[in-house]
């Protein structure tokens, strides 16, 4: 595609807020592995400026935008307060609606996520293939059960959001989270199937209308005013952003109720069971959507720190390369980025890795690491005490 006209509706004041100081560059995973200005936040913003000004884009431009993992590491690093995430979302939306950026097959794929039956059928198929050892180990997929036991509500003090892929593939993690939450004396409610996709991946892909549809549907699944807890950092970030995405009071009120499950627990550390026995040494990987977007990563250390020696990485929270569907579309960059992360992890002598985001968790597992959700680790330690 060459010189396709485009209208990039990014507010000028956002575009000019970048003073091109470059301080974000080392915090950008794609710049780190490519050393390409075009794969850096400063570069991408300059490109947006140019497209905004010239009103045309081409394949080169699309490629530069598409390689962004949307980890928003640049946002926390930027002293000027540049709102990179929303600029990138607007750009992707403009590309998706005004160009052939997202072909039909990709759109179909994203649709499946919010379509429980299709996702279940697909997952069951993978599960079956796994039984016959037809799925390569290195994909790092969890062992998917062919028949899923349902999650059972135990009260209505807090909601636990379940999501799409995580629910289909990692329901046992939800169960572990439920047990930890219940150990504080809380009763847990699970939403119905209207809440089976938060729409995060759609926003990342520029499919905002679809994301808005999913958001409205999801909100209906959480009546009342109980806190809505999320055990996937990516979904949590998205639910917290509904206020901005839908721009309505109802959505803003909804977003106010959303907390990462660790944030909620960190406020009730004393209600958690005492620790006994060993404190294994665990490296904590900060998911971008927890650290750079929700800015709530400290809570993981607080909760985990009660039971284990929680060690942080010395890499300023650089992304691991998972980025939702990113690793599927840009396997090379994703694995180069992951290699950096693995090196950083391996420098620390630890028994296991904890990651509060299923996407990161799977991505790191496929890199050969032992990774569990922090609350699965906690759940294991609590159970032993009983």
């Amino acid at each position: 595609m060459k010189n396709v006209p485009i209208d990039l509706p990014i507010p000028t004041e956002d575009l000019v807020s970048c003073v091109s100081c470059g301080l974000c560059l080392p915090h950008c995973p794609t710049y780190r592995v490519t050393q390409e200005e075009s794969a850096s936040p400063r570069g991408r913003i300059a490109l947006m400026k140019q497209a905004h000004h010239d009103g045309v884009v081409d394949d080169e431009f699309v490629e530069f935008m598409d390689t962004c993992i949307q980890c928003r590491g640049c946002e926390t690093a930027c002293p000027a307060g540049v709102q990179f995430g929303s600029m990138m979302e607007t750009t992707r939306e403009a590309l998706a609606t005004q160009t052939r950026y997202q072909p039909w097959w990709a759109r179909l794929g994203y649709r499946t996520l919010g379509w429980q039956k299709a996702l279940r059928a697909g997952s069951a198929l993978i599960a079956l293939l796994q039984r016959f050892r037809l799925v390569p180990q290195k994909l790092g997929l969890p062992s998917i059960p062919i028949i899923q036991r349902p999650l059972v509500s135990s009260g209505n003090d807090v909601w636990l959001f379940t999501g799409c892929i995580m629910d289909a593939w990692m329901r046992d993690t939800h169960r572990a989270v439920q047990r930890v939450l219940e150990s504080t004396g809380a009763g847990i409610a699970f939403p119905d199937k209207r809440a089976n996709c938060c729409g995060a991946l759609h926003v990342h892909a520029g499919l905002a209308p679809e994301a808005r549809r999913l958001a409205l549907r999801t909100m209906q699944a959480f009546p009342g005013d109980a806190p809505i807890l999320v055990d996937s950092a990516g979904c949590g970030a998205q639910l917290k952003d509904y206020g901005h995405l839908l721009d309505s009071d109802a959505a803003r009120e909804f977003s106010e109720r959303v907390l990462d499950v660790h944030e909620w627990l960190a406020q009730r550390l004393d209600d958690l069971p005492e620790k006994t026995g060993l404190s294994p040494r665990i490296v904590v990987q900060d998911p971008c959507h927890l650290r750079h977007v929700q800015r709530a990563h400290e809570s993981v250390y607080q909760v985990l720190g009660r039971y284990v020696e929680a060690v942080s990485l010395d890499d300023d929270g650089l992304c691991c390369g998972a980025g939702g569907a990113y690793s599927t579309f840009h396997p090379q960059i994703a694995s180069d980025v992951r290699d950096r992360k693995i090196r950083a992890i391996e420098e620390i002598q630890a028994e296991e890795v904890a990651s509060a985001n299923p996407g990161c968790l799977l991505h790191l597992r496929s890199g050969g690491l032992e990774v569990r959700h922090p609350l699965e680790i906690v759940d294991g330690l609590i159970k032993k005490d009983e």
Binding site: V19, Q35, E37, P79
Partner: protein, 479 residues
């Protein structure tokens, strides 16, 4: 933006050995048009070499097609040094980012020019060493850029600037030959070409390897934050600390506006109601550090200090420094654009010149923010503005000139660390006579008689005999 179409033959020649690392895409070229300054140029072709040999081949190809070239590190320079004017081929060193050898016995590390300053110090840290020059941009600026600009940083007050920390440099000269300037001995034979190259802003060739000296990490570090209700007391305290025979590792100052914007970014508990703060760092052996803390406290008390806060631990210290090091970028929180100045004045003149800076900003209806290396009198007045405002650029330029003039009148110099580049070359005559500049040009010419390396930089056009690639700072350069 409309680009001149790249010289097709040169491009295909470059592609023959660089492959897709020679670029001419419209969008991509636009990314190499600017550095951290407010100036903008127009690159012809961008090359991303990975070795000395490739740099050499690029330069030889440029020579064959009579094309100038320009080295670019991380593009954080603030004087337009890496802004391409005169249609050059940009040689970006970003992919030459390997630490080649860490030689503890010699206290030397050999690095490629694209290695980021902080990456190097982080790599050295477990071994007990660091690279002393620490520009506020250290997380992203390259060692090659540091060498080219002879960069400084907060800790250069005690440790000296880049020149004192570089033993040798491998350079591809503007005629394509490869030279090793300096060596690992204390007294390298012949003239100090190494010293001459450092700070030459890419006009004497492209650095392709650098041997940097390693500085041992201090056993004890103490960071103090002093606040003052009057910026004049703060500035006077700076002079007195030094006059008391104490050279802190770092001695930085921020004025009220700077404190506010920095605090909004880092939440480090900077006192936003103070008129000025000093960030003082003492390092070394425990006794000396303790003594230093006492001297600083005593001096501060004599100058009506509000409070003296001593960072309790590494985390608090890191947070205070994070605020200081991100201050420039954070200025964008008040206005979208800023023009950052860099002059040095005698410490004793700090108060006087600071007051002039505020007056000048007022006179031109601009906002001035001051955050700077006070210990060595290195002012960094920042003029914040919105380029969308009509006629604002003229005012910013005029105010800038007035600030430089005031600094020089106070016995200061044009630049303490950012260099002359494109931005200040036409100011050189304020500090140097025509004969001084002609002599400097003779020296440059010894390396690059035809003016192929980074044309139009450092010296005003009149003093260069070989400006074949254009005469003036292009009018369109200001953005």
């Amino acid at each position: 933006m409309v680009h001149k179409s790249a010289d097709k033959k040169l491009l295909s020649e470059l592609r023959s050995f660089l492959g897709d690392r020679a670029r001419d895409g419209d969008f991509e070229l636009g990314l190499y048009a600017k550095d951290g300054s407010v100036l903008k140029g127009d690159p012809m072709i961008v090359c991303l070499p990975t070795s000395t040999e490739e740099v050499q081949q690029i330069i030889l190809a440029c020579r064959r097609y009579d094309r100038p070239f320009l080295a670019r590190g991380s593009g954080t320079g603030l004087a337009g040094g890496a802004v391409p004017v005169g249609d050059p081929v940009v040689i970006a060193t970003a992919k030459m980012n390997k630490i080649l050898d860490i030689d503890i016995d010699n206290r030397i590390a050999w690095v490629e020019p694209g290695v980021l300053n902080l990456d190097l110090s982080r790599e050295l840290s477990p071994l007990g060493f660091h690279f002393a020059p620490d520009p506020s941009s250290q997380q992203v600026c390259s060692i090659g850029g540091n060498v080219a600009n002879n960069s400084g940083g907060p800790h250069c007050l005690a440790y000296g600037v880049t020149s004192a920390h570089v033993a040798a440099i491998e350079v591809v000269l503007p005629d394509g030959r490869v030279a090793l300037l300096g060596d690992l001995t204390a007294e390298s034979p012949g003239y100090d070409l190494r010293g001459l190259f450092i700070g030459s802003e890419g006009t004497m060739g492209v650095a392709t390897k650098v041997a940097v000296r390693l500085t041992p990490n201090p056993p004890e570090v103490r960071t103090l934050l002093l606040d003052f209700a009057d910026v004049r007391d703060g500035a006077a305290a700076v002079s007195s600390i030094i006059a008391n025979g104490l050279i802190p590792a770092a001695l930085e100052m921020m004025d009220q506006r700077a404190i506010e914007i920095v605090e909004a970014f880092v939440n480090a508990g900077y006192p936003t109601e103070a008129d000025a703060v000093l960030l003082v760092e003492l390092d070394g052996l425990p006794g000396g550090v303790e003594h230093g803390v006492e001297v600083v406290r005593a001096v501060a008390n004599r100058h009506q200090v509000g409070s003296v806060r001593v960072a309790a631990d590494d985390a608090e210290r890191a947070l205070l420094w994070k605020g200081r090091k991100n201050a420039f970028g954070a200025v964008a929180r008040i206005k979208p654009d800023y023009y950052l100045h860099d002059t040095v004045v005698p410490r004793g003149k700090l108060v006087e010149v600071l007051e002039k800076v505020y007056q000048i900003a007022d006179a031109y209806d601009l906002i001035a923010v001051n955050v700077f290396h006070a210990g060595d009198g290195n002012l960094h007045p920042i003029l914040a503005y919105d380029s969308e405002e009509k006629g604002v650029l003229e005012r910013v330029q005029a105010a800038g000139r007035a600030i430089v003039t005031a600094s020089i009148e106070a016995g200061g110099v044009l630049s303490g660390e950012h260099g002359i580049g494109l931005e200040k070359r036409d100011y050189m005559g304020m500090l140097f006579s025509a004969h001084d500049m002609a002599t400097q040009d003779l020296v440059r010419e010894a390396f690059d008689p035809d003016g192929f390396a980074n044309p139009l930089k450092v010296l005003p056009s009149g003093s260069r005999c070989s400006d074949s690639f254009g005469q003036h700072v292009p009018d369109g350069a200001w953005v």
